[in-house]
């Protein structure tokens, strides 16, 4: 039986192009966490195993966004490696609990919302200032369009944890916005 196999050179090269473009940045961010050259290289490799499975959502033409995405993945892989090697203390988990305790519900009135360009920019600043644990999942969902299951795979955390972090990120953001007087 005929088996015709045709490969599109553009698709084939996307992962390699991303690697060429962002390998130094990813390595440098991983090294900041791992303080070891070989481990930082491993983090880059492991990141690409994840990235290759999610190539369809990566926009090569938008450099800053893609740059941020690659770093989010690599940094989380590096952190995960740290945890596995018992280099990392329980800071992340403690932060989860501390923030959960601090977050309170806000009684928002929709009429108080003032949506203009400045407000959106202020919210963007608030997102940037969030704890990276929450910021990463929030950005992966809201800016990059990944679902909780996909985020769980990318960050090597359970799906339930992703959902928990998303909910907490949303609440933490509401609280910050309220403090800033945006809502």
């Amino acid at each position: 039986m005929l088996l015709l196999q045709i490969e599109n050179p553009d698709n084939r090269l996307k992962a390699e192009r991303l690697y060429e473009k962002y390998r130094y940045l990813m390595y440098s961010e991983a090294y900041k966490i791992l303080h070891d050259e070989r481990l930082a290289e491993d983090a880059v490799q492991q990141s690409f195993i994840k990235i290759i499975n999610n190539l369809h959502k990566i926009d090569e033409n938008n450099c800053p966004r893609t740059r941020n995405f690659m770093v989010i993945i690599c940094v989380n892989v590096a952190k995960s490696m740290c945890k596995k090697r018992l280099y990392l203390n329980k800071r992340d988990d403690l932060t989860d609990d501390m923030d959960a305790a601090e977050i309170t519900d806000t009684g928002n009135d929709p009429l108080d919302i003032l949506v203009d360009k400045d407000s959106v920019k202020q919210i963007a600043r608030a997102i940037e200032a969030l704890n990276p644990i929450y910021r990463d999942v929030l950005l992966l969902k809201r800016a990059y369009g990944y679902g909780p299951k996909e985020i769980a795979g990318l960050l090597e955390i359970p799906e339930e944890t992703v959902k928990k972090r998303l909910a907490r990120a949303r609440k933490a953001l509401s609280r910050v916005l309220e403090k800033e007087g945006i809502i």
Partner: protein, 231 residues
């Protein structure tokens, strides 16, 4: 539902939309504000591991595409066999059945055109290709084009053959398991001829394109069609 609940839902929806917009800005800003990294000399082991990773990915992609095409070829053959076994009152009725089938099967393709009455002669000419020789009684049943790739399916009374042209940079693989394979030449260019269970495949190329001819025709007929192919 109370007014307060509705208000909260509206507020949440508005806030969600603002957060989506703000998240995109934040992602962009965070990317922009990252310091430029220094150039690093990676270890040979790392570079080799990355090469392996990309090679593996290329192979996966290769087989995925191969599976897609082989499924389509299998469906095509099955359909021809099934339809050949159905007693229909006229040749035209049979043609309509085939046409309808192709319309359904190929709806994912970017460009589909049917030969209709145009392929009754002993040659075929289009913008992309000229087949200077078509065996007597064969007619074009399907033309399928996507990018530089063109595929033409011809059907005779008992036999069929499919001609494909694709860019030389595309990779073409044929399943040679349990098949007899030999090297030959088409118009002075190297070619491979494979035969398995009454299905014969000829693959050859020129400077720009690679060509595949497969079907149930005799080898001499397949070679004759190939030798009379012009861009």
């Amino acid at each position: 539902m109370s007014d307060n609940n509705i208000d909260n839902k509206i507020m949440d929806k508005i806030l969600d939309e603002i957060i989506d917009e703000a998240a995109s800005i934040a992602a962009e800003d965070l990317g922009k504000n990252m310091p430029e990294p220094e150039t690093v000399v990676f270890s040979k082991e790392h570079e080799e591991a990355m090469r392996k990773l990309f090679r593996k990915e290329r192979n996966k992609l290769f087989f995925k595409k191969g599976l897609k095409y082989s499924k389509r070829a299998a469906v095509f053959l099955l359909a021809v066999i099934v339809m050949s076994g159905i007693a229909v009152s006229s040749v035209e009725a049979w043609r309509v059945r085939v046409m309808n089938f192709f319309i359904e099967m190929s709806e994912t393709h970017s460009d589909i055109r049917f030969g209709g009455n145009s392929a009754k002669s002993d040659s075929y000419t289009s913008d992309e290709i000229t087949l200077g020789y078509i065996p007597k009684g064969f007619r074009l049943e399907k033309r399928d084009a996507k990018g530089s790739m063109v595929s033409l399916a011809f059907k005779g009374e008992k036999d069929y053959f499919v001609f494909s042209k694709s860019d030389i940079t595309s990779r073409i693989g044929i399943d040679t398991e349990n098949a007899s394979v030999k090297k030959t030449k088409i118009n002075g260019q190297e070619a491979i001829y494979s035969s398995n269970n009454n299905v014969h495949i000829l693959v050859w190329h020129d400077d720009e394109f690679s060509y595949t001819l497969s079907g149930t025709l005799e080898e001499s007929e397949i070679v004759k069609i190939a030798e009379n192919t012009k861009k």
